[in-house]
């Protein structure tokens, strides 16, 4: 499961040095700082990090889903199967979304339109992107619902969302995301709002379908345990920056960045019984007034003077990269010193 192998087949998504700001009255919130993420074709990649660290902003910026005019992209590029989504107009983005890249969001309870039947919501999407008649679209919808292990898909298609449980709604949303055979699926915390028992089923559904159809997947989660079982590679984000990146096994077994290490020590399943669980002291810094140097440095036990003055850049071998001065491989991020 080396990165190089999947990337040789070409990129599904290549985000390069993306920086993004939200202008506010009290100044610019630097939501993303030089974020680079590669997703190979048919590869499953995870992005983990605490809430508000920029996971969703990254993918929403890449698919043009952020509210127009409320953000500035200050640098970087996004390539979706070789096409620059940042340069696309509304019409082009509408053609791409649903057909080339689909997103599954967090809240299945509200993510389906309450006044439209399930079947119609599915066929609306299918007929938007595929040249099919309504009966054909309904057949496609029925098949894909059945594939999501929904019994009696024909009956479900005639129901309204409020007549379904949360788990069923999420299956419908996954079916919708896969319905036009997109090359890339972005699963943004797809199981966070669901029961633990349902979570595993839903995750497997996404994984199986993606593996079978050769679809690339970006899994976004704050839960390392969830992502680790599914993904080929992991990106760890902290306060709008990628702090560590590598093959899932490597990152989990030999985490380099102090943040990743701390994150893993918070997992109950990785700590011996009766031993106290660790918590990372402090809180995520404000991105309106970020700390100087490494953003993790105020909470880091290993921080030295260098960490407090200059930002480390992601560096290391292809298999595992880390942005930390204490790991010896880091070099300096360009253009960081000016803003403090």
């Amino acid at each position: 499961m080396m990165t190089g192998l999947s990337l040789e087949r070409g990129h599904a998504l290549a985000i390069h040095n993306l920086s993004l700001e939200f202008p506010t009255f009290s100044g610019a919130i630097k939501a993303l700082d030089n974020v680079s993420i590669d997703v190979g074709k048919a590869e499953i990649v995870g992005i983990v990090g605490e809430s508000g660290c920029g996971k969703s902003v990254t993918t929403m910026a890449a698919t043009g889903l952020l509210p127009k005019g409320r953000y500035d992209i200050t640098s970087g590029s996004v390539s979706l199967f070789g096409r620059n989504t940042l340069a696309m107009d509304d019409g082009e983005l509408q053609d791409v979304r649903g057909k080339v890249v689909s997103t599954i969001f967090q809240e299945p309870m509200n993510a389906l339109n309450p006044t439209i039947r399930i079947g119609k919501q599915l066929t609306d999407v299918i007929m938007r992107h595929e040249e099919t008649s309504l009966p054909d679209a309904r057949r496609i919808a029925r098949d894909i619902l059945a594939d999501m292990l929904i019994g009696e898909p024909e009956r479900v298609m005639n129901l309204y969302p409020f007549e379904l449980s949360g788990g069923m709604r999420q299956r419908v949303l996954i079916a919708m995301a896969f319905s036009c055979k997109p090359g890339l699926i972005i699963a943004d915390e797809p199981t966070t709002a669901l029961d633990v028992t349902v979570q595993a089923v839903i995750l497997r559904l996404i994984q199986n379908r993606a593996r079978r159809t050769g679809t690339s997947v970006v899994f976004i989660s704050h839960n390392v345990a969830v992502v680790s079982q599914l993904c080929d590679r992991l990106y760890v984000m902290y306060a709008g920056r990628i702090v560590e990146h590598g093959a899932t096994r490597t990152v989990l077994e030999a985490p380099q960045h102090p943040y990743t290490q701390a994150l893993l020590r918070c997992l109950p399943e990785r700590v011996a019984p009766k031993q106290e669980l660790e918590a990372i002291p402090g809180a995520v810094p404000s991105l309106l007034h970020p700390p100087a140097g490494c953003y993790f440095q105020p909470r880091c036990k290993e921080a030295v003077d260098l960490c407090r003055s200059r930002s480390p850049r992601l560096a290391g071998a292809e298999g595992q990269q880390v942005a930390c001065w204490r790991r010896g491989v880091a070099s300096e991020t360009s253009g960081q010193e000016g803003r403090q």
Binding site: L65, L93, K99, S102, F105, N110, A111, T115
Partner: protein, 337 residues
């Protein structure tokens, strides 16, 4: 069936509402100073004449008996005889009500046709120039008194430019069509009277617009507010993430949900139209219920006032019934459970 479950209790409620209104109006009409017999017979009538008039009207009998007679007649559709016109109140209402309903329907139509799209545009282009204009227009609509706005329009379009008629339902020279429904727009078409139809449309423009304007403001604001709410919903994000076109998202996915909280308001607006009609009709000399009721009040014509009150309250209950039915139509969660 859910639909009978909604309609049936409302119809029973209607009976109680009518009874309640009848008791209240009857009581008030007896408490208010002023002697109807004196008004009919005149100031100089002798005591004997007054007594005769009282006996003819049944005013000499005990109050409870008067009330029983009144309710009994009411149940047979007899609203009494107008003291002023000397015709049955029910017949008077049949004459004047269609004119008011026609004006009200046209006004509601104008208010919806302008208010809903304006509200949608206003929400979609929030804080843009369209939004600013729409918000200014709706504040004007809500805050401008009907009689003032009506007079201004009459002055500009009738008195000054002389391009629109300022009073009545038909032009002077045009023979009214034979009465079938009482709605001029329908009657003229049924009889193929296109000259009269055009004249009727022409006469509806100013009063229709005046009556519509205030309600348009309310509708625009409501639609704007609920559209803004709905456009932030997760399901709109899902629709956007699925690549659905903007127009489809706004009209098929958002507007329908935004209409649900607006339905109650539409019911109220319909009621408002009835009440706004009184002023509008007076200004435009529109021969409808408004004009009829104002004259009745001025002449202390109690049977007419009571008749109008009862008809109006039945109207309100029916509007509420319509609102509930509209909810069922728009919200599957109410319909299917």
């Amino acid at each position: 069936m859910a639909i009978t479950r909604i309609i049936f209790p409302r119809l029973i409620l209607l009976l109680f509402v009518v009874l309640g209104v009848a008791i209240i109006t009857f009581t008030i009409s007896h408490l208010i100073p002023g002697d109807p017999a004196r008004m009919i017979a005149g100031d100089r009538a002798s005591a004997e004449t007054l007594e005769n008039v009282r006996r003819n009207l049944g005013l000499d009998r005990p109050v409870v008996e008067q009330f029983t007679i009144y309710i009994g007649n009411l149940l047979q559709g007899d609203l009494g005889t107008s003291l002023r016109t000397n015709r049955p109140v029910a017949a008077d209402i049949r004459t004047f009500l269609p004119a008011t309903l026609e004006l009200g329907t046209v006004a509601l139509f104008i208010a919806l046709c302008l208010g809903v799209p304006l509200g949608v545009l206003s929400a979609v282009y929030k804080d843009g120039p369209i939004d600013q204009i729409a918000r200014t227009v709706s504040v004007c609509g809500i805050s401008m008194p009907v009689f003032w706005f009506g007079l201004i329009l009459i002055y500009v379009f009738y008195a000054h430019f002389q391009i629109l008629p300022g009073s009545g339902r038909l032009a002077m020279g045009i023979v009214p069509p034979e009465r079938i429904t009482g709605f001029l727009l329908i009657d003229t078409l049924l009889q193929g009277r296109f000259d009269a139809f055009c004249s009727a449309v022409y006469h509806l423009i100013l009063p229709g617009f005046v009556l519509a304007f205030a309600n348009m403001g309310v509708i625009t604001r409501q639609i704007r507010a609920s559209m803004l709410d709905v456009l932030q919903e997760d399901y709109i994000r899902t629709a956007r993430a699925s690549g659905l076109r903007k127009g489809v998202i706004i009209f098929n996915y958002a507007l329908r949900n935004a209409l649900i909280p607006s339905i109650t308001l539409l019911g109220l607006a319909l009621g408002d139209l009835l009440y706004g009609a009184v002023l509008t009709e007076t200004i435009f000399a529109w021969p409808g219920m408004g004009t009829y009721v104002v004259t009745s009040i001025q002449t202390l014509d109690f049977p007419a006032i009571m008749g109008f009150t009862i008809v109006a309250s039945i109207g309100y209950v029916l509007i509420n019934l319509l609102v509930d039915l509209a909810y069922m139509l728009a919200d599957p969660q109410i319909r299917e459970v």
